[in-house]
């Protein structure tokens, strides 16, 4: 049952385009449907997307070229907002933080997910229970996770994590208050939340590895690490590429984790692209500059997605 459904859903996008031969047959079998009735079915989705995706997008483009002034009317100011973003050193820092965070979290969550999957692979009920429990961070709301990690990261020597590292003789760390550490503390939470998600993907990949290859490699005298390197990892590589690409695109717009854990502080040390936009737009009422930052974020995501598609397409052709 599970497997059938999974198979049915795999060709998500490719097949959504059309399947001409089956379609023409279908049309004949439904004489009473009018040509316009299909648009009634599409209307809710199209209307909602228009109002809450496309109109905001076009309004965002418009605002990014304006000085936004409530009640006075907006004033057209050309590229000034974009120049303001580009010349803002705090925006530079924010973009660099976004890239560090995105890179670290994506790679870390892949490695973490791989380790979890390898350690928790197996059919027993106990392992199933541990996997179910280990997955909890994924389904828990990011805000809830942020709050509990703030407590775990409590900076005093008797804070939860500090007292734990204290038992092995390490000095207490001001996890979220030290500008040199805070970004990496956030990264750790992101990895903690992302690894179990990747674990599920890798477990499915591990289940697909041909068991006879393991036996064959054992007969050939291969050690465990050779078997992992030459048999297991190549089987997981396609899943790994997809996971990394999705994580990279998503990481550009990271907001909630950072906002709840540090709010971009201390002194902007953990400011990311979206927290910078938020502060500019909603706290300092610089809506025009914030809109320009948003449009740049959109362009970056589109570019990264296009690049990702190109890479995966190339891989598929091989």
């Amino acid at each position: 049952m599970t497997q059938q459904a999974g198979e049915a859903m795999t060709p998500l996008v490719q097949n959504a385009a059309s399947r001409p031969s089956a379609g023409t047959q279908r049309r004949r079998s439904r004489p009473q449907s009018r040509w316009w009735s299909v648009w009634l079915f599409l209307l809710p989705a199209l209307l909602l997307f228009l109002y809450f995706k496309f109109i905001p997008m076009f309004q965002g483009i418009q605002m990014s070229f304006q000085r936004v002034r409530p009640f006075l009317g907006n004033e057209w100011i050309g590229w000034s907002n974009y120049i303001a973003v580009i010349n803002d050193p705090r925006f530079h820092d924010a973009i660099i933080h976004t890239l560090i965070l995105g890179f670290g979290q994506s790679i870390g969550a892949v490695i973490g997910g791989l380790v979890l999957a390898l350690l928790l692979e197996g059919a027993s009920k106990t392992l199933w229970f541990v996997r179910t429990a280990a997955f909890l961070p994924v389904v828990t709301a990011t805000a809830v996770i942020g709050e509990v990690w703030r407590i775990i990261y409590f900076p005093a020597p008797n804070g939860f994590l500090n007292s734990m590292i204290g038992t092995v003789g390490l000095d207490p760390v001001r996890w979220l208050e030290d500008p040199g550490v805070a970004l990496y503390s956030i990264m750790a939470v992101g990895i903690w939340q992302g690894a179990p998600y990747n674990m599920v993907i890798f477990l499915a990949g591990l289940a697909g590895v041909d068991r006879s290859l393991y036996e064959a490699s054992a007969i050939d005298g291969a050690k465990l690490r050779h078997r992992l390197w030459y048999v297991t990892l190549p089987a997981l590589r396609p899943a790994m590429t997809i996971v990394l690409v999705l994580a990279a695109v998503r990481s550009l717009r990271v907001f909630t984790d950072v906002w709840v854990l540090t709010g971009g502080g201390p002194a902007g040390a953990t400011d990311v692209w979206m927290t910078r936009i938020y502060s500019l737009g909603f706290e300092r009422n610089q809506m025009g500059i914030a809109a320009a930052g948003s449009i740049l974020l959109l362009l970056a995501s589109v570019a990264l997605t296009a690049l990702a598609l190109l890479i995966t397409r190339k891989r598929a052709e091989k």
């Binding site: 995706k53 965002g60 499915a204 068991r211």
Partner: protein
């Protein structure tokens, strides 16, 4: 879970062997079993431990903000009483309404649009699909700044949604992911079944509701759990959609509980517990759908 998919060689169906797992765990060897148990305990502590401390801390009367426990040492409901005075149930109710109606609407939209894409052929189909895919590039965060303006003054209609639950429900109601999951599943329903119903004289709406929908339960499960997690996890949208703080969803309200110097960590954890419980219930009910959704999307891309 995924292990049920495995096609085992005939021999190992009788006795499990070290070739069952990539790491080659040998079953029934005491030292190995002990090692596995230790690994499981560590993983449970690291990944489930922080979640457990929310539950324990919510029911624990403990003024020390640095202490976290896996089990309440001083069981009490006082944290919830204080949280009640801070209006936590109002935020909880906001969240439930938004998640409930938002999810219902998202499923409805996904079913109708998915049906049109999968079972009908029409002019402009490729364009509609392109539009749906394009919206995946426009998550709430990217359009947040102008969306705040749009929510305050809907173009053409000129009404403000801000401060109502519709300001959150409507933006999350259409999800390209949900639509594509439904479309992909509906496409695989055999034509013969639908044709038989057509000959019996059933209308299109009846065919969708009475024949196609009951066959789509696995896809509905995937859409439901991903939709719920997506809506419950909203943070930026509830902030920009709110008129006053009482409009917040519970996830956003946690920050004000934390900032409130008069209440301790226990009260914050009581709020976090309330924000956690619906996720836990939905996860336990739809766990298989979640795993199915994750793996089907990622393995082949």
């Amino acid at each position: 879970m995924s292990t049920t998919k495995r096609l085992r060689p005939a021999r190992s169906q009788v006795s499990s062997s070290s070739f069952d797992t990539a790491l080659g765990w040998q079953p029934r060897k005491p030292t190995i079993m002990l090692l596995r148990a230790a690994v499981c305990a560590i993983i449970l502590f690291v990944f489930a431990g922080p979640i457990m401390t929310i539950i324990a801390g919510a029911f624990d009367l403990n003024p020390d903000p640095t202490r976290l426990t896996l089990f309440p040492t001083n069981p009490s409901l006082e944290n919830f009483e204080v949280a009640t005075h801070r209006g936590i149930w109002g935020f909880f109710w906001n969240s439930l309404m938004i998640a409930g109606f938002g999810l219902l609407l998202q499923i409805t939209v996904a079913v109708t649009a998915g049906y049109a894409l999968a079972r009908r052929k029409f002019r402009g189909q490729a364009i509609v699909l392109g539009i749906f895919l394009a919206t995946m590039m426009l998550p709430e965060e990217v359009v947040a700044v102008p969306l705040a303006v749009v929510l305050g003054d809907l173009p053409l209609v000129g009404i403000s949604l801000r401060g109502t639950i519709f300001a959150i429900i409507l933006p999350v109601a259409a999800s390209a992911f949900s639509i594509l999951v439904m479309a992909a599943f509906m496409r695989d329903i055999p034509d013969e079944i639908v044709e038989a119903a057509t000959i019996d004289g059933a209308g299109e709406m009846r065919i969708l509701v009475e024949i196609i929908l009951p066959m789509c339960k696995p896809a509905l499960g995937v859409v439901a759990i991903f939709g719920f997690i997506g809506i419950w996890d909203q943070y930026l949208l509830p902030i920009i959609a709110a008129n006053r703080t009482s409009d917040y969803m519970i996830t956003v309200a946690l920050a004000s509980l934390r900032a409130d110097v008069q209440v301790g960590t226990g009260v914050l954890l009581a709020g976090a517990f309330l924000a956690l419980v619906p996720s836990l219930i939905v996860y336990l009910l739809l766990q298989n759908s979640l795993v199915r959704g994750i793996t089907s999307g990622a393995i082949k891309g």
